[in-house]
Symmetry: C2
């Protein structure tokens, strides 16, 4: 793809996740970093960040998000700012005609997200959340296998967990433990992944009920540091999730069908960047699968995002609503777990939501 046809992405902030995503954009053949805006660093510091992360020399440096969003040489923005700021800045981006790649959780709650959706739809901009593992080629393979009724049958039970042992500094200072910033804590962060995993295993069908499990751990400000939940569909199909900032790194999916079982041990971030494995089994017959990944999963995500944006920009098509619908379902379930925690672990019925 010639340089002119690449989707020009503007990134917001100079955080670590921007380092990772910038590398991914550089690796993606259909995208380029066109601009950066940082409001917490000086122009000089931002320039230095851009240089040390391999941004093209032509990159524009903005000192405000407004200025980035008004830049006519930017097609799309990557928005990794705290969740409490998503509503304002994604709506502004949409009304400026910028396509949006937004970090999870997508909003503080689903009604905020619906305002984001409305803004994106009104302006015909593409939306995608930044859940990288969903774009790993392994995930495509997993999806094929668990929707194969011959080998997997139909789903009966899923368990997914994502935990990591956060440092004392993280538990004191990270935006993910601050009510004014990422108020959903471990649930909006680690829990987001586990909820998308159980949705994937259920072909993205919403459960009937969501019930938080007893024993959630909250910090003094009431932010979830660790919790679990049960999701229930019809006919005894169930899923449990567990997410935590307080336990050793664990990233599991165990999905059990009537005929097959799937196990993944590193679903969020594969232990190796260039290959990703999982196992399936039927009875005592176990198969190990390995999927080679030429590019890291975050680059695959950028490529897919830029492809969708390219369809709109170059062919005048409408935005693809698939990823947006998954973001909304995930946010709905995150909200439901939170509601159940806040409501003495009562089940939350999702009908009509």
């Amino acid at each position: 793809m010639s340089g002119d046809n690449k989707i020009r992405i503007g990134v917001m902030s100079c955080t670590n996740i921007v380092r990772k995503l910038s590398r991914a954009i550089n690796l993606a053949p259909n995208a380029t970093i066109a601009a950066i805006a940082s409001i917490t660093t000086s122009i000089q510091e931002t320039k230095s960040f851009a240089a040390s992360n391999g941004f093209p020399p032509t990159v524009k440096i903005h000192s405000s998000y407004e200025s980035l969003l008004e830049d006519p040489d930017v097609d799309a923005v990557y928005v990794p700012i705290p969740t409490s700021l998503h509503l304002e800045w994604v709506i502004r981006a949409a009304w400026n005609g910028k396509h949006v790649l937004l970090d999870k959780p997508v909003a503080l709650n689903v009604s905020d997200f619906d305002l984001i959706v409305a803004a994106c739809e009104s302006n015909g901009v593409q939306f995608m959340d930044g859940t990288q593992w969903m774009h790993n080629p392994r995930t495509t393979k997993i999806n094929e296998l668990i929707t194969d009724s011959e080998s997997f049958g139909h789903i009966k039970s899923v368990h997914s967990c994502f935990s990591f042992a956060a440092s004392e500094t993280f538990l004191k200072n990270d935006i993910r433990v601050k009510p004014g910033l990422d108020g959903l804590g471990a649930l909006g962060d680690a829990g987001w992944y586990t909820i998308q995993a159980v949705l994937l295993a259920n072909n993205f069908k919403l459960p009937k009920t969501v019930t938080a499990l007893s024993g959630p751990v909250l910090n003094d400000a009431g932010i979830v540091l660790s919790c679990g939940a049960l999701l229930s569909w019809e006919e005894g199909v169930t899923a449990t999730i567990y997410c935590s900032f307080l336990a050793n790194l664990t990233m599991e999916i165990t999905a059990i069908g009537t005929k097959g079982t799937l196990r993944v041990h590193d679903f969020v971030i594969p232990f190796q960047e260039t290959e990703a494995s999982f196992t399936t089994s039927t009875g005592t017959c176990v198969n190990d699968h390995k999927v080679m990944t030429e590019l890291p999963q975050e680059a695959c995500m950028v490529i897919e995002f830029a492809r969708l944006v390219g369809e709109i920009k170059n062919k005048g098509t409408k935005p693809d609503g698939f990823w947006l619908s998954i973001s909304r379902k995930t946010q709905l379930l995150v909200d439901a777990v939170k509601e159940s925690i806040d409501n003495n672990l009562e089940p939350v019925f999702l009908s009509g939501r």
Copy 2:
């Protein structure tokens, strides 16, 4: 060990599990099959069963359980009869001075089990339940690793499941789906293992509460075919279990500590008889472990049972209460899950039980 010193075991019934245990007794150097009693087969059929399963030619054939229990040449009995018959026959065995290896679930409920315990204690007989995987050398190794606070830290979350896809015939006719026989269904059978797994991971400490998860599947007679439960300890330590007759064979333990994670994929019956594997990880560093098992786990169980019986028989020591205490805790938790299912999924508080 000379033939004279071997613990002489009498087995009850001619079922498939007796085939498996007879092989185990034959493999155990400190035990021998001294007698068999079957009330559903003719003497000739029982003789033929004995011959085709490698019983010693000297084995005595009894046509009633009473007669077996009165046999002075029997030290101990293996009792794999339906759960509803445990109370009567284990109490009779104990009062006849026979040590007891009893299949799980040990009773229909813990108050029945307490009568069994009282009978065993009154008569100084050794009790052990027939949960084979607890005697696999791998389980010893697992126990060492998860109680190592240096590498594992302390437990935060455990998930264990045991499911298998029962045939239509099983779901119609097996004793495990009949109210009058094994009325605890999948919970007393598959669930028993998962509960012992989460107890093991919690150093056999009882949880504070047990809550059945929504979505249990019952048959027309009200027997559990599939269910899940949450077990909660102090400070947010939780475990979830899932057991089912309706899903593909899956036998998982995922135990997450503050510093380490343990994963076992075949904890109930290892995929291979002569070796058993598991993995541990800390952060992204994963270690595969393999434990060689010279004898199958059921033979290890018989050896341990016969060793304990031998201590009493030959040295006059008192019965060892360790295995009995674990059986009681497991039964207590099985009961609690059932109580929660019967009581609209309300939590069951275990304090004082």
